[in-house]
Symmetry: C2
Subunit: 202 residues, 2 copies
Amino acid sequence: MPKNGAINRERILDAAQHLVIENGFAATSVDQVLKAAGTSKGAFFHHFDSKVDLARALTERYVTADIGHLRTALDATASISDPAERVVAFVRHFEDSAEEVMSAQSNCLYVAVLTEQQLVSNGTADLVNHAIEVWRKEIADLLTAAATSRDRDLGDVDALADHVFVTFEGAFLLCRSTGTPEHMRAQLGVLRRLLATTLGTA
Amino acid sequence: MPKNGAINRERILDAAQHLVIENGFAATSVDQVLKAAGTSKGAFFHHFDSKVDLARALTERYVTADIGHLRTALDATASISDPAERVVAFVRHFEDSAEEVMSAQSNCLYVAVLTEQQLVSNGTADLVNHAIEVWRKEIADLLTAAATSRDRDLGDVDALADHVFVTFEGAFLLCRSTGTPEHMRAQLGVLRRLLATTLGTA
DNA sequence: CTCGAAACAGACTGATTGGTCTGTTTGTAA
DNA sequence: TTACAAACAGACCAATCAGTCTGTTTCGAG
């Protein structure tokens, strides 16, 4: 295998991710990406079939990282024996990393992808759906365990689990609009408080 | 004043709003808008200085309607004497209109606007900020009254108030990704349950 | 009826777009 | 060292873009 193309490919993805999160997908031109990545058109279309193929690859990588963050939070709280306490600690884990996340990116790639129907209908949104389903399943398991241990009725557990994703995305937009990244931590704090009260972890 | 231009202007805004919500702002061309509105380039640039000026006008109108929905919900629950009960009824009001909203639009214009940095930095996002602030203030007042009447500590009331906006936007994205508009009602239901528990309205 | 400005219509333009094509460089296996 | 494919560079192209310009229509004031 000649010349390690994977490195350049990653450089393109890095530059593209930054630009797409910042300006949106349609508003980001291939030429802009090339300039930012310091590479050429030949390289780009060698690694990607088209611009929408870039979106696919971008989302694929982002989803993998996203699920990685979920696993990290699950692992970090795995030793907590009380299921309700674990749910609270799980959310608090994200609160603790909120500043770090928001300083690295001013928005979520999912927002940029879901904004454009062409990406939703061509299958790129399916990748986001996968992430949503993984989050839902893992968190629903945590919540079900907590509900059982505290003998509480949480209603629609899947919907409650989805509310974590909803809080993240909504908070991203709130931060973006106000230019105040601190909202992310605050909204995760709201989520934690609400869950703690509901689970009786006062 | 010759020929009622306001009518045609509204037609352009209607067509543009639909296209921008569906495909995003940058992915929507002026020509597409003209075709959908059944008008011409001359008409468009007579009513709008530029394409970004269209975004401004679009957002302005959307914000007005958005705040209108807030007022409607406030009015509809104004007769409820128990402040905590009113908060719950306030959220339930949006639950009841969730299907209607989601059948009319598959996403929120705010998402499309906030996706593109050019619109965030040129002042269009400031219009969204105004809407956010109005919602925050009105809901914070409701929450403060409820907290006082039930003698509860809600923590950061502004952040809790913002969580309504956060839930809306997050739910829009969840619906959009999964193609399941029912998530909107479900997420508002989650929000209502969490607030009811926190306010002690069981 | 006239006249002037607002309200349009649509051909046109220069810049930018995603994508192609030809040619060159690079690394490796034989 | 040669052979070959992957990795890349960049000129090039047709299409589309936002925006301009010239001319026409519409309508209300005088």
